[in-house]
Symmetry: C2
Subunit: 201 residues, 2 copies
């Protein structure tokens, strides 16, 4: 039977469920390993619940900051803490831009409003933040500081890139994302392809 | 953070992923067991891919037969054979009707066209059919036979009910579906609730 055409949102959701199910991924949640409070089911539910934000990103309805914020709000209905915040930071520009060159254009055109929305989103996650950070996401004055410095979301990622491999993707043209995709293709796209890519990165 | 309102399609997808992940479910695919050619990933992908048909059912766009057919077509993109055909036969009326009394009204109002669409859907699945069955889904004359007898989809289910526990649900007011939901609630909706319901049915 002919397959229905997949949307970008479908592909993003398939990537999220295949990634988390792939086993073994030492140190990560996978089909056979949970964290104490974040389980496989939380990741799977998060992939389902993210749908409206992924669809909005595919239609470029709003900037990357607001769309990441929407994705965080969509997926806050489970009690497993942070599941896909890092994934959304990468997936939203990819959904908007359609591919890595497109995503690179999207992140290069972010605004101060994107930075503010991103900070609001970050404050709603349970991602651990290094104490005493100059721009603390739980400190409302950080948003004033971002505005007064005129920092875009790209500037924020540039600022975080030395310590954060997700932020680094925004700066270096999604280098590890590209390498991961190449490793999956090289592994033949079978059941073990995600694991081989994970171990090879 | 406040959870976004869940649609019926969201709830159906969450049910599908939580059901298949729940472990242990002796004899079924679960988090730790695959069939030889149908794996956990096929069920998870099927839950994602079904989305357009589930949304259409929530809006009652079309009859139950056409919507089951759409769900089968949506989910035909993986190579794991049949994953959710039985689930769709139950979920589509529930999505259309909103609850069990509503679903019971939906199945009671099916038409001959619903029966024909259902047969077309059935022929596209890899569900095993008993050989020599009077209305073989792979025999085009079955559809003529359905039309000449004026059989509705409800009539077809009535015909199959003695041998098929999914068809039986249509006839008896979703008795086992109700019992499953009650068992899940009684088990407290935690991680083991699906397993307890499965074993208790």
């Amino acid at each position: 039977m002919r397959m229905r055409p997949l949307t970008r949102a479908d592909r993003a959701q398939l990537a999220m469920i295949l990634e988390v199910s792939a086993y073994p991924k030492p140190g990560n949640v996978d089909r056979c390993h949970d964290y104490e409070t974040t389980r496989l089911e939380h990741f799977l539910a998060s992939a389902i619940l993210a749908r409206p934000a992924l669809e909005a990103a595919e239609r470029s309805e709003g900037g990357p900051g607001a769309l990441i914020h929407q994705a965080v709000e969509c997926t806050s209905g489970h009690r497993g803490g942070n599941t896909h915040f890092g994934a959304f930071i990468l997936l939203i520009p990819l959904l908007m831009g359609g591919d890595i060159p497109g995503a690179t254009r999207v992140v290069g055109s972010t605004t101060v409003d994107d930075a503010v929305e991103f900070y609001r989103a970050f404050g709603k996650t349970e991602v651990r933040v290094i104490q005493g950070h100059e721009l603390d996401v739980h400190d409302p004055s950080s948003i004033m500081e971002i505005r007064s410095r005129g920092m875009t979301l790209y500037d924020l990622m540039l600022f975080s890139a030395p310590r954060d491999m997700v932020a680094r993707e925004w700066i270096n043209g999604f280098e590890m994302t590209r390498r991961g995709a190449d490793l999956i293709h090289a592994a033949g796209s079978g059941q073990q392809a995600v694991v081989e890519a994970f171990l090879g990165l």
